[in-house]
Every structure is written in C-alpha cells, then in structure tokens.
Amino acid sequence: MGFFSVSVVGRDRPGIVAGISRILFELGCNIEDSSSTILSGQFAMLLVVGYPGVSSPEGLDKAFGPVRSEMGLMVSVNPVNDEDLSREKGFLGAPHIISVYGADRPGIVSRVTRELADRSVNITDLNTQVVGSKERPVYVMVIEADIPDGFDMKGLEAEFESLRKELHVSISIRPIETLEL
C-alpha cells in the first residue's frame, strides 16, 4: 500500500469533494484522513490516501486531469512515507489554545509564531481571520499548540506581555480541557 497526500484548492462550488472522492473511489484508493476549509471563497482540502499496490504518484496524479480542467481545481499529489503516518496528532505535552486579537496590522502572525518556534512549541492547528467592519478591521488568530512538559510558561507569559505592548493586541493562553468519559 502506498500512501499519498492529495491537496486540492479551487474556487468554492458544490461538487468538489464528490468529484475528488469519486476519482479516488474508482481507482480503489482509501481516504485515510482528510480536512478542508473555505478561506475567502477558496475551498482547500488535504487528504491522505492509501493506494493498494501502488507506490508511485504518477498514475494518481494523472487521474485528476478531468477535475483540473472541468472544475478549475489545483490538485497536487505527493508520496508519504509509511513511517511518517500517524493516526492522531502526536502531542508530546499538553494541548493549549492561544488567542491573539487586535486591530489589524502587519506582523501579528509572524511575531507570535516566531516566539513559539524559538521555544520549540509545535503548532497543531491555526486559524486567522479578519473580522469587524471595513473601517475598523480586527485580526483574530487562534492557535492550537502542543506545550511540552516542563515548559517555561512564565517566560512565555513575559514574552506575551511585551508582544501585547509592541503589537497592541490581546493574547491569552489556556489548556484545552477535555472531559474524558
């Protein structure tokens, strides 16, 4: 079984998922995991598929020809190593949510994520969106991040405090609490 990532981007319309998944089904591919979203009218989907007995991406890539031409989709196919596949997000520490929001200005994403990267905090999910009115746009970023065990939270809080002043944004961090039943 070969595994491939398939990424799909195009102007949103009904039928994109059906078009992509029909091709995969007819080839005998299995959709392992997938996620999709719509950003500013662009539909984007990432799938990891298993293709029994096939190890090179060429045939799979070629099969998307019709949806590329008929639906105007950009589809790219890349091989994934078996050993890189994992069933779930591999949290080494504890999942946290970091909310950052304020008047829209350049550098919010870059500055905040740099500080996280420098502390080896892995971002596991991220959403950014401009909300509010045209005259007074508000930038909202929500990060899901894996905070390692024994992490220097005081140090991060201190850095957030200086970012609040520098970027004029609100920043908060809290653990994701899950009710395990």
């Binding site: 009218g41 959403n127 929500v142 009710l179 039943l181």
Partner: protein, 169 residues
C-alpha cells in the same frame, strides 16, 4: 471485584437501546458494584454507563467529586442512577468531550446547563437530582449511552466556534 472490559465502537451493543431494570435484587447490586469498580479503574473515572461493559440495562454511575475541575463545582458525589429519566432541562453549555468507547477522538458537544433527573437507586428507592454545570454534562453523556447515542451524534462544530462566517453581501 473484577474490572470489566470497556466495549469500543463499532461494537453494535453501543448503539442499542437498553431496557429498564425490573428486579432490584442482590444480583443487581453486585453488577452495580462491578460497574463502579470499572469506572474507578479508568483514567478520568467520573462516569460510566452499563452498556459500555455490555450490560444493556438502564444504569449509569457518575461521580465528579474527585475530578480536578468538576470537583470544585456543585456536585452530588457518587450517583448510582437506575432507570434515570430527565424531567426537565435548560440552558446550554459547550464542552469538549471524549469517551472511553470512542478512543482517540474528542469534539465539542452542546449540552444542557442544568438537568432535573428522576431515578432509582440500586435498592429501588426514588432519587431526584437537580444537577448543574460539569456534573450535568456527565449525567447527560452517560444517559445517552442508554439510548445508543454517542457524543459523536451530538458534535456541534468541527473547529473552533469563535469564527463567524464572513458574509460577502
């Protein structure tokens, strides 16, 4: 007391509707003890429903008093609810839930903020419980198991609820 194995989806028992308990015997009490011991042995260990161990009768156990968050809120300690019915419910809260019977998956679920529950104890004596907040969520989650409903049936959102859809009017 033996710890019972937890059934995991797609075990079809988890989608069955459980029947009411009719005989309040010594045997029932032994089975409730087994369910309680199993719950206590689990990580989290704050709620369990009989169908999760393959016992398709209407019994749930809840005890949030030892939980680091739930224990700080109003709660009734150990609740053994036989043939529970929700008489009234109100308000709403969204909590991220996980379930021993659905490993590796968590999701935001909308639940009532408070519930009024009519049930029997293991001896057949009526208990009426008004529960709010954290404990109320656990009661609702466990009672759903009695009707073959998993939290996956009640998922309210795939991702964060924070974002409103943009309108391009």
């Amino acid at each position: 007391m033996a710890i019972l194995p937890i059934l995991k989806f797609p075990d079809p028992v988890l989608k069955e509707t459980s029947r009411s308990v009719e005989r309040f015997s010594a045997e029932l009490s032994i089975r409730v003890d087994g369910l309680l011991d199993t719950m206590r042995a689990m990580p989290g260990g704050i709620g369990i429903a009989a169908p999760q161990v393959g016992w398709t009768e209407r019994v749930v156990i809840v005890d949030v008093s030892g939980h680091k968050k739930g224990g700080r809120q109003d709660n009734h300690g150990l609740l053994e609810l036989v043939n529970p019915e929700i008489l009234a419910m109100g308000g709403s809260q969204i909590i991220r839930e996980g379930c021993m019977s659905v490993p590796d998956y968590t999701a935001n679920v909308k639940r009532a903020q408070w519930v009024l529950v009519d049930a029997l104890d293991r001896n057949g004596k009526q208990v009426i419980i008004e529960s709010i907040g954290f404990e109320a969520v656990v009661i609702q989650h466990e009672m759903d198991h009695l009707d073959g409903i998993l939290f996956l049936d009640r998922v309210t959102s795939l991702k964060t609820d924070l974002f409103r859809r943009k309108s391009y009017a």
